[in-house]
Symmetry: none
Subunit: 166 residues, 2 copies
DNA sequence: CCACTTTTACCCACAATTCCCCACTTCTTG
DNA sequence: CAAGAAGTGGGGAATTGTGGGTAAAAGTGG
């Protein structure tokens, strides 16, 4: 059983990572890679929340307990700052609950599918406390753009990155 | 040849060094040179994390505890700066956990294999806290190019190198 | 309240991938 | 040269990914 390496549980902290190509079938279903399923079952009783990622045209998928933390944070945002208000509206407004079915799949709401342009081939990325779900082409385009800019000295690098040693 | 020459363990610091030609079999598996295996077993319980090296078309292979340090650094990057966000997404997104099998091999994710163009012959380099894995031809080309430019006064040398004594 | 359409959930089946094990070759070491 | 260790390859079982049929549930309009 090689699953334990793909996530990590330190007390209440969960860290997802990793990359998968997945297909979305004609009914709009998406299979969560099996190596994450045990943790999702234990930690969230198969309850997930999916919403849009307001920064990129992709989706975020949280285990329910993690989403509840996000909701608390959103609640503290001011209604009088437009950016904050919109973020709150979008993330909460589009959040929908879903459960893993007996095959470990979730049904993506039509609205979110079209927001992220998820049709056939998609990509799912572990991103710490959540997953990010991209249209495959969109993801590849972002990746290539980033790879270029990393190697390109003419693109200014923020200070936080300049001092980053990997 | 004793193993101890190829790594060093000072407290929590691990330093890998050394060069190996290795082959990648038709199933995409790669055997970690045996002289590193003891340390990996002790220090990381055979848990490794492999991800892409954005600066060259090669891969980075970390023992899990070392990768966790990287993840902590990444977590501090802002989501609202695009460069930083992408770096975080890419490094975490492509990071895949792997375990050494009973022969001391790991299975390279297809995506990463194609990114680094790893087909048959590869090269693995000890690089301090991690290993770097290259397509053999790509490595030799880089090496030759670098050897040329170092001796060439027309290529500017950054200040940090000018003061470097070897 | 009922009939009709659309959506969702459950089940099974096939295909692809991954994992576990064993065998053979090559290289080191005594 | 023998014996062991390390590198390499591959068979086959088990797991996982994917698609679709069909029944239940929900939404819609009269």
């Amino acid at each position: 059983m090689g699953k334990s390496g793909f996530y990590q549980q330190n007390g209440d902290d969960i860290v997802f990572r990793g990359f998968n190509k997945i297909s979305i079938d004609s009914k709009g279903r998406l299979a969560v890679p099996s190596r994450y399923r045990d943790l999702i079952a234990v930690q969230a009783e198969n309850n997930l929340v999916i919403t849009l990622n307001p920064l990129d045209r992709s989706l975020w998928l949280y285990p329910l307990p993690e989403w509840e933390l996000i909701e608390d944070k959103l609640a503290t945002l001011s209604d009088f700052d437009k950016q904050s208000r919109r973020t709150k509206q979008m993330m909460r407004g589009y959040a929908s609950d879903c459960q893993l079915d007996s095959q470990g799949r979730i049904l993506l709401p039509k609205e979110l599918r079209s927001y992220a342009e998820l049709n056939k081939q998609a990509v799912i990325l572990g991103q710490g406390n959540k997953f990010e779900i991209w249209n495959e082409q969109a993801w590849e385009a972002q990746r290539d753009e980033w790879l270029q800019s990393v190697g390109d000295d003419s693109v200014p690098t923020p200070e936080s990155l300049q001092t980053l040693s990997l």
